[in-house]
């Protein structure tokens, strides 16, 4: 791969110099905090009664305050919140070149457009995976702090593995965000599309077609509609894989073969 290390350095430097990593981290850290809050409510029925509607919602989401439930809620949060987070990061990494007018400086270079794109994909994934890892570590600390009943390390590892695979699924289904940032030449389209993804995912999951809609698969895998093995089929994972591939190939084709006249 020609000049990938330099392209990676450039993308990392641009990210590091911006405030986006800080803002996305702060936003995503709400997830374990909310998760821990639910656990506190579930642990203490008195507080649950005083909390009114929130406690009702907490009861709907989770039945008992234990590590399995705690990590399952975290995985579901990553599945849904991750779609928004990934679209935000992707919109910034890819769409900013259009919004800031810097794309033209990336088009006629001895470094190939594919190398630049690959660096962008890698940095987006590192950024997203890094934040989910941070969120997971914070969640584990918070879980211990709120005094969840002790669990075997095997159970916790299983829960963390569940979170990790959910993260991989989100990454796979969200590569098209780069394509939408490119054809939309900025931030709006990828963010709008992410909202539509989640909206349709909910509708199709209710209709029983969620296993075939790639953007519903991460949440279904995370247990948003019960046992994932009863809902998802091998085809579901293939659809996710192909969606990820389509996002990368589509972005590559658009950057290389579409007229860049702005």
């Amino acid at each position: 791969m020609d000049n990938l290390s330099n392209a990676l350095w450039i993308e990392l430097r641009k990210a590091a110099r911006s405030r986006m990593p800080f803002f996305t981290a702060v936003g995503f850290l709400l997830l374990p905090l909310i998760d821990a809050f639910f656990m506190i409510i579930l642990k203490d029925p008195e507080l649950a009664r005083n909390a009114g509607l929130i406690s009702t919602k907490a009861q709907m989401i989770a039945g008992t305050a234990d590590w399995a439930t705690f990590l399952s809620i975290l995985a579901q949060g990553i599945a849904v919140g991750g779609i928004f987070l990934f679209s935000l990061i992707g919109a910034w990494v890819f769409g900013r070149e259009f919004a800031d007018g810097t794309l033209k400086d990336l088009l006629a270079l001895p470094t190939s457009r594919w190398t630049i794109l690959l660096a962008k994909f890698i940095v987006t994934v590192i950024w997203f995976v890094g934040l989910t890892a941070l969120v997971t570590v914070v969640a584990l600390i918070l879980g211990a702090l709120v005094g969840l009943p002790s669990a075997t390390s095997e159970l916790i590892l299983q829960g963390v593995g569940h979170v990790a695979f959910t993260t991989i699924l989100v990454v796979a289904v969200m590569t098209p965000v780069a394509f939408f940032a490119s054809i939309g030449r900025g931030y709006l389209l990828p963010l709008g599309v992410a909202i539509l993804f989640v909206l349709f995912a909910n509708v199709l999951a209710v209709a029983g077609w969620g296993g075939y809609f790639p953007w519903a698969v991460p949440a279904l895998y995370a247990g948003a509609a019960g046992d994932p093995d009863a809902i998802l089929e091998p085809a579901s994972y293939w659809i996710v894989f192909l969606t990820g591939l389509a996002g990368i190939v589509g972005t590559h084709l658009w950057w290389n073969f579409a007229d860049q006249s702005h």
């Binding site: 020609d2 000049n3 330099n6 392209a7 350095w9 450039i10 430097r13 641009k14 110099r17 911006s18 800031d100 007018g101 810097t102 033209k104 400086d105 990336l106 088009l107 006629a108 270079l109 001895p110 470094t111 190939s112 457009r113 594919w114 630049i116 950057w255 290389n256 073969f257 007229d259 860049q260 006249s261």
Partner: protein, 322 residues
Amino acid sequence: MNHAIETTDLVKRYGKVTAVNEISLQVDEGEIYAFLGLNGAGKTTTIRMLLGMIKPTSGTVTVLGTQVRLGSRQPWASVGYLVETPHAYPELTVYENLEVARRLHPGTERQAISQVIERLGLSNYADRRAGLLSQGNAQRLGLAKALLHNPKLLILDEPINGLDPVGIVEIRELLLELTQQQGVTILMSSHILGEVSLLAQRIGIIHEGRLLQELNYEELKRNRHRRLVVRARDTKAARSALSAVGHPTTLAQDGSIELTDATAINCPDEIATLLVRASTPPTQLMVEEEGLEHYFLRLIGLNNGALNGEMHNGEMHNGQSV
């Protein structure tokens, strides 16, 4: 002479709109070639096709001996460019933006950054975030990015946009130095004929997507209309005297007599002698040259070409926006 840039019947259509229409041009190595045209004439579209950013509807582009294809890595190691308004990453400093450009051109030494910063007069702004630069300094940064890797060919779209008069002179001298001392080829676009005429060896006039005319400085001078303006106390008698010896005249709105035949323009002294002998001595005698602005407008058909008050006495006038 090798061509640094060669296009053959280059066409770009967007639906029914033809942005560029059968442009064929050759830019020789080491020359400065200027595209001159109004906004929307097709200059930037052509430049984007030269740089492989837009695919031509038909026709071919060859740059430094390589046929340009969308997404190709060739021949850009030897090409520096500036397209439309320069943009930089606003959160990065001037130095960091140039570091980004350096890393995208493998093999460019780190010291090239300091050199180009100094060359473009950006030393005081090296650590300033690009988002805080003035328009003129942003333009300088754009040019610095184009020059950073010592390219053999520079493609510059409106390179003096946003620069103050001192900046314009500095950049003009820099570009002339690059061609004269380093043999760099420059293709630039501009809508300022006066500026272009001071820089370019050849000028391509583009209008509504077509290359109307290619000419060098001498041809530009030669093609501009000239006239001899004569004033006399007895205009009627003066005109009769001139007509009698075969000099056709016209009467301008301000009452002056105008002669456009070459003999009169080249020998105004003979016209003076003739009028003195006819007892209608001239009170004013002046050779006027068509202004660059007028010449350009006449060429693209936005002016009927009538010689009027936009004529200028003497040499070219700088900075006339067309």
